[in-house]
């Protein structure tokens, strides 16, 4: 599992295996800031394209739950935490760099 996590680019064959797991994703945003809005739409696009019906996305507004910021060690926002499958992985930014998002999620990239 860690192999898949650390070197997803070179383990394209593992994609089938990972697809069997449900992706648990948590996206932390800050209200309706431009970055947050972009992150939501970008992430939704990616999920719909690559993980259709195989993901569980939770969107949390940190403004509403400030305590969670400390608990989850949040510094930069928007932040996407992939809880499963595999090792927890953190992605920050507005998710505009699709290939990086896919790499972060452990999905293969097409290049």
């Amino acid at each position: 599992m860690s192999e898949q996590d650390q070197s997803p680019l070179y383990n394209n064959h593992l994609i089938n295996e990972s697809e069997q797991h449900v992706f648990k994703l948590r996206l932390f945003i800050t209200g309706a800031s431009p970055n947050s809005s972009r992150a939501i739409s970008n992430l939704k696009d990616i999920c719909e394209t690559h993980l259709r019906d195989n993901y569980d996305l939770e969107i949390i507004d940190v403004y509403q739950q400030p305590l969670i910021a400390e608990k989850e060690q949040i510094i930069a926002l928007p932040l996407l935490i992939k809880k499963a499958p595999g090792v927890e992985r953190r992605l920050i930014g507005d998710m505009s760099d699709t290939s990086k998002v896919l790499r972060g999620l452990g999905l293969h990239t097409e290049n």
């Binding site: 510094i75 926002l77 992985r89 920050i92 507005d94 990086k100």
Partner: protein
């Protein structure tokens, strides 16, 4: 800042300040850090940045009732709490009381993928929440630069940092940001000083001659006066103490009160009353001349008057001094036991000169003695140059005079010729200078003492012989004989010689007296003899007179008888007429 300046500034609105509670730092910064603004503390690894900022938080919470948030980017909260437990800071308890909030920020580049535009709103929310939850007035971000290692987008980071400082100012918290010292002349690696423009404090940790000293300098402090020098500071069991060592003023109070030295004969030499209170006394001399004994006597005298005395020993251990002084009838133990006398023994090489000064300051501030003894200052030269020692002692004397503490230094002079001029260069600073020296003559060594100087009082210009006996110290007048100054047995010999002279003279006198007596007796006898002779001559002469008289009477009688016989009555009437 002088008083008049202070008054002027009071009229204008001054920059409000937050006291740090760190001893000494508030004096340097003239009241503390700028209130409601961020301050940058930078320095190399291990120079005490974290500790200083943490003490700022803890002191705020405990002393000034200002809750604080400590955001650690390096150490975990538990680690921090453990690290400062040795200083007596109970972070756990303060957190439970909602006075302090520790927040550990963990950033690991390997865990983070950057996928586009982001901001540090998460940090802001955390910080904002932490501040609001306990009503914090103080914030520490230690070490903010770790953000740069965790996140790669410099443009975003710099923009966000600028926003962060704006945010902190809006919150009205007094903040400390720590940063690692950068290469070359830059204060921090990431140029944080660019964002913090109000107050920058630089910490430094230097090792010179294998002795390390931490120093602090206020690089900039906008809108306030501040000390500009490098000040040494000490980290010990009470936290940090900084030393604002140079007082530029020379306007301390003076006392004309006198305190005895413990040696009555020495007091006599000093115009009969001893030293001035709050003055500095230097006792210098070659090895084994009794400098420590003089110091111990002074300590003993101070304590016997129920005053406190602090003895800094740089050569001997306290027990050694106590034992040695018992041999000259000075019992220091009793005063140690009842707390009037406190010894502090440390090797000069234990730490740097400045550190010595800091620790002396601290101990004096704690103990508040009336008199201080440093024995000997010469040993300090091993950890610094003469000029450094001098500058340290200047500041020490300065401080002690301000506190009205009398200080006695002892100094070992190795070379008598040079020493008279220099003596660690303090001779010009001290108020009184006693010199004990060897006088070697007639195959024995004796001690001579004289007062080189004593400001503001009449003092003897005589060399006295300084005697150490089982009963204690004493000074005796030396003999000025034809061969020069006489001391020791030569003095005793001279005394004996004079005694003999006196006896001889007495004898001669009594002989003369007897002679006179005899003469007088003789003459008196002669006088009585002559008188007797005179009396007998007188008697002889008187006898002739009487005989003549008698003869006359008889002749006249006879003549009358004859006349009577010739004429009857006539001669009788003649005689009657005659009668």
């Amino acid at each position: 800042m002088t008083k008049s300046q202070k008054k002027q500034q009071l009229n204008i609105k001054m920059l409000p300040k937050t006291p740090t509670g760190i001893s000494g730092l508030d004096e340097i910064t003239d009241g503390g850090l700028p209130m409601g603004r961020p301050t940058l503390i930078c320095g190399e690894a291990g120079c005490g940045k974290t500790l200083m900022s943490l003490e700022f938080i803890v002191r705020g919470a405990t002393t000034y009732n200002e809750p604080g948030v400590f955001m650690a980017f390096e150490e975990k909260a538990e680690e921090l709490a453990m690290n400062v437990a040795s200083l007596g800071f109970d972070l756990q308890k303060l957190q439970e009381q909602n006075k302090v909030r520790l927040d550990h920020v963990h950033i690991d580049r390997s865990e983070i993928e950057e996928t586009g535009e982001y901001d540090l709103e998460g940090l802001f929310i955390r910080l904002g929440y932490a501040i609001d939850s306990i009503g914090a007035k103080r914030v520490v971000l230690d070490t903010l630069e770790n953000l740069f290692s965790g996140l790669s987008n410099q443009t975003i980071l710099r923009a966000e940092l600028r926003r962060l400082f704006g945010f902190l100012k809006d919150k009205g918290v007094t903040a400390i940001i720590t940063g690692e010292r950068g290469e070359g002349t830059s204060l921090t690696r990431q140029g944080l000083e660019e964002y913090v423009s109000d107050c920058v404090i630089l910490l430094d940790h230097r090792v010179i001659n294998q002795i390390s000293t931490r120093r602090l300098r206020v690089v900039k402090y906008r809108g306030s006066q501040h000390g500009t020098n490098e000040y040494p500071f000490l980290i010990d069991e009470d936290g940090i103490s900084v030393l604002p060592v140079t007082s530029l003023r020379l306007e301390k109070d003076v006392s004309s009160e006198r305190i005895p030295s413990g040696i009555p004969a020495l007091d006599e030499m000093l115009g009969g009353h001893g030293f001035f209170k709050g003055s500095s006394v230097l006792v210098s001399g070659t090895a084994g001349t009794g400098k420590t004994s003089i110091a111990a006597y002074f300590a003993n005298e101070t304590c016997s008057q129920k005053k406190k005395c602090m003895y800094f020993a740089f050569e001997e251990s306290p027990n050694q001094i106590i034992r040695n002084m018992q041999s000259i009838n000075v019992n220091l133990k009793q005063y140690v036991d009842n707390g009037l006398l406190k010894f502090h023994a440390s090797r000069p090489t234990l730490y740097g000169l400045e550190m010595h000064l800091v620790s002396i300051y601290k101990l004096i501030k704690q103990f508040r003695p009336d008199a201080v003894i440093l024995d000997p200052i010469t040993n300090l030269i091993t950890v610094g140059s003469v000029s450094e020692v001098k500058s340290m002692l200047v500041r020490l004397i300065d401080f002690l005079q301000e506190e009205q503490i009398t200080v006695m230094f002892t100094a070992l002079s190795l070379n008598t010729i040079v020493s008279e001029q220099t003596d660690e260069g303090v001779s010009s600073l001290v108020d009184a200078w006693l010199l004990v020296r060897d006088i070697e003559a007639n195959g024995e060594r004796n001690r001579g003492m004289y007062i080189m100087k004593s400001r503001g009082m009449k003092h003897s210009n005589q060399v006295r012989e300084f005697i150490i006996t089982d009963k204690g110290l004493d000074l005796v007048d030396v003999y000025l004989g034809p061969e020069g100054v006489l001391t020791g047995s030569a003095r005793e010999a001279q005394k004996l010689k004079e005694k003999t002279g006196v006896a001889l003279r007495d004898f001669a006198l009594s002989r003369k007296d007897k002679e006179i007596m005899r003469k007088r007796k003789m003459l008196e006898a002669k006088i009585s003899n002559l008188q007797a002779e005179f009396e007998s001559t007188e008697e002889e002469l008187n006898k002739i007179y009487i005989e003549e008289d008698l003869k006359q009477q008889i002749i006249e009688k006879n003549r009358d008888e004859i006349t009577k016989m010739r004429r009857g009555f006539e001669p009788e009437t003649k005689i009657r007429r005659k009668k």
